[in-house]
């Protein structure tokens, strides 16, 4: 077990703070670290893909869980895996695909851990069908503040507080997951363009249910009648029978060799991403997309994780870092969504493609983000003047509409709005007070928002 005092930040690289980083290699070491953490407590960390300060703990301990990364058992008949929380989804996919199984939910990057996926109760392009990650967690083992390890089953308060609980109920050590059967590592994808936001919402509402995976990339720099124009990509895993006999794909249906480009250099000038460049990029990308194309075969990585091809792409935002703003508003709140899209586009945020998705049913996690409705996520350089006040105004709109922002992406929410956005916050606080009376688990996020 190694311990170093280092600067820790989230993927957006804003607000770094210092902490003692401990990397347990055994469960016993994790227990020792939790028992021995000082007055400033500790927080588990996975691969640090949360954008804000969720996996930071200034002046305290950060438990880097990636040292506990074993896949313990796979039930290949029923598609169940028992693994350490520090295993990445990348690794799980590598191991499971050849057996005909896929992770039940994947975010826009494979570089997240199972612990981080549960801690943030992440969602993927299949949320409207499959719900969030926690729906597929059969049970987990949790190291709590008293230094004991508990098996936590579904439909218990501790389970529902832990899924989406941002690491604040304890350290997840292992999880048992139900997997998704697949016959190949390819995706059959339909692509279509939507000329504006209303066109997009109409298409998603009408036909999303025909697809297991669905997402729309919106150009938020488009203005006027093109406001909210988007490219929709939707699809499902390709069945084996769809691959022609005798082709290489048919002989090796589970091939998985994601390519990686070199990372951008660690120091880049601040204003590399100016508005004109981003607008041009968005324009080209919209033009390049086919008006409509069906049945295209894509590799898994290209469909789910296009950004993983460029390691450390977050560096292109320069030293100032960036903010990701993601919110959801319920069905019936389309007017709020329209208004926000219009405001972002009028504000001329140099935002690369934003992502819009229609969520399905919510899962029971108390601080779990997804609720049925519309979610929009966009990246904005933190150095953009006036950004803080601009996003505050959007928050008000979101909260008034009964919506919420995503804690795994947050680095700036006004704390007063949290209770309105997460009605079960009080229960969460009460449970924490009960299982962790001394406040052993704490993060910068928890301090900032008084979780």
């Amino acid at each position: 077990m190694s311990a170093d005092t280092v600067s820790v930040s989230g993927w957006g690289r804003t607000a770094p703070t210092n902490a003692r980083l401990i990397r347990p290699r055994t469960y016993e070491e994790a227990v020792t670290a939790v028992r021995g953490c000082g007055t400033r407590g500790s927080i588990p960390r996975g691969l640090g893909r949360a954008y804000g300060d969720a996996a930071q703990n200034a002046g305290g301990t950060v438990l880097d869980m990636t040292g506990l990364d074993r896949v313990h058992a796979i039930d290949a008949d029923n598609g169940i895996v028992l693994c350490d929380a520090g295993v990445s989804l990348h690794r799980l996919i590598e191991v499971l695909l050849p057996l005909g199984w896929f992770v039940p939910v994947t975010p826009g990057t494979r570089q997240v851990t199972v612990g981080g996926a549960i801690g943030a109760d992440i969602h993927g392009k299949n949320h409207h069908v499959s719900g969030s990650f926690s729906r597929h967690v059969l049970s987990l083992e949790l190291l709590t503040a008293d230094g004991e390890i508990h098996t936590v089953g579904r439909d218990t308060p501790l389970f529902d507080a832990t899924t989406g609980g941002m690491g604040l109920t304890g350290v997840i050590l292992t999880a048992t997951l139900q997997l998704q059967p697949v016959e190949t590592s390819l995706m059959t994808v339909d692509t279509e363009r939507a000329r504006d936001l209303d066109d997009l919402m109409a298409r998603l509402t009408a036909t999303d249910d025909h697809y297991r995976y669905s997402v729309a990339w919106i150009d938020l720099l488009a203005r006027g009648t093109a406001t909210g124009r988007a490219v929709l990509t939707r699809g499902d895993h390709t069945p084996l029978e769809a691959l022609r006999e005798g082709t290489r794909a048919r002989r090796d249906p589970f091939a998985f060799h994601p390519s990686r480009l070199p990372a951008p250099p660690s120091f880049l000038p601040e204003r590399l991403l100016n508005r004109r460049g981003v607008a041009l990029f968005n324009e080209l990308w919209y033009r390049k997309a086919p008006r409509a194309r069906t049945g295209e075969l894509q590799r898994l990585a290209a469909f789910f994780h296009p950004l993983d091809g460029v390691p450390h792409w977050n560096r292109i935002y320069g030293r100032g870092g960036f903010v990701q703003y993601q919110f959801v508003v319920g069905h019936g709140q389309e007017e709020t969504l329209r208004r926000i899209v219009r405001r972002v586009s009028e504000h001329r945020c140099p935002s690369f493609l934003a992502v819009l998705k229609r969520f399905g049913d919510a899962d029971p996690g108390w601080l779990s983000f997804p609720v049925p409705g519309w979610t929009l996520a966009l990246d904005i350089p933190a150095a953009l003047p006036g950004l803080g006040a601009f996003l505050d105004a959007l928050d008000e709109d979101v909260a008034t509409a009964g919506g919420r922002v995503y804690l795994a992406k947050d680095s700036r929410l006004r704390p007063e709005l949290l209770a309105a956005m997460y009605p079960r916050l009080e229960e969460f606080r009460a449970l924490r007070a009960e299982v962790d009376p001394r406040g052993v688990f704490v993060s910068d996020l928890a301090r900032r928002l008084s979780l």
Binding site: S7, G12, T14, A15, P16, T17, N18, A19, R40, G52, D53, N57, A58, G59, G60, G320, G321, V323, A382, A383, L387, G388, A389, S411, R412, R414, P415, D444, R447, R448
Partner: protein
């Protein structure tokens, strides 16, 4: 905790009636700051300053603090930090003195030096230590252009600020990599109660402008901030003017 834009939620002001500090506090309260400690010599003015900030919606407390009593700094500031994290310490106390009188009465000159320099050294070290154990926070120190180059008209004050400035730069380097951000702010002539009796200098500015520059500096995690920004260039030119000439300049 500070947010993605470096805006603190809690602020400790050393020199709680300073006009520059209060303008800064008002600006930060309009963004995210909710808890403010005003440390200063007890006075109706200190309480009034607290009341004014409270009216803006912040939770404000005052605490007795005297720069000239460094023995007490550890205890006084320790109590503040014991109540919860401080995201930003703004070291704003200082006195201008009266150059002519201070030249005649060395003990008065020493008071300027002790307030602006030794008092600040003590308070900054105590504050920095507390921030370091938190693993985060900004220490913002109000230096002055007067410390850049000795001027006939105010070299007693200027020398104290020169000492403070050099000290703060070094402290910033010492704290590099500890999660604590140290920022030196060098205003030119600011219209405040400190300068009401003086003739206005070129490029004169306002407490509000200093506050704006501080907010920007926090976002960028700057190490040095000049107010107005143009002073950076002006001073780098003036630095190279020979003394025989500088002496005679009307600055």
């Amino acid at each position: 905790m500070k947010d993605a834009f470096g805006i603190p939620q809690s602020l400790l002001v050393l020199g709680g009636t300073s006009e520059i500090a209060l303008a800064t506090a008002r600006r930060l309260i309009a963004r995210r700051t909710r808890t403010v400690w005003l440390a200063g010599r007890p006075s109706p003015a200190l309480e009034q300053s607290a009341a004014d900030l409270r009216a803006l919606g912040a939770d404000v407390r005052t605490v007795a603090f005297d720069a000239l009593d460094p023995e007490s700094h550890e205890t006084v500031l320790g109590k503040v930090f014991a109540e919860g994290d401080i995201d930003m310490v703004l070291l704003a106390f200082g006195i201008l003195g009266d150059q002519a009188r201070d030249e005649r009465e060395p003990l008065n000159a020493v008071r300027v030096a002790q307030t602006n320099y030794t008092g600040a050294v003590s308070a900054a070290l105590v504050g920095a230590g507390a921030l370091q154990s938190q693993g985060h926070g900004s220490l913002v120190v109000l230096s002055s252009v007067a410390g850049e180059r000795a001027r006939r008209a105010n070299f007693i004050y200027g020398s104290s600020k020169a000492g403070l400035d050099t000290f703060t730069q070094g402290l910033g380097d010492a704290l590099h990599g500890t999660g604590v951000h140290v920022m030196v702010v060098r205003p030119g002539f600011v219209r405040s109660k400190m300068t009401t009796d003086l003739e206005e200098a070129p490029l004169a500015t306002t407490p509000e402008a200093v506050a704006t520059a501080i907010e920007l500096g926090l976002r960028r995690r700057s190490e040095t901030v000049w107010v107005p920004g143009r002073l950076r260039l002006v001073m780098s030119a003036l630095r190279h003017v020979p003394r025989s000439v500088f002496r005679r300049l009307p600055v």
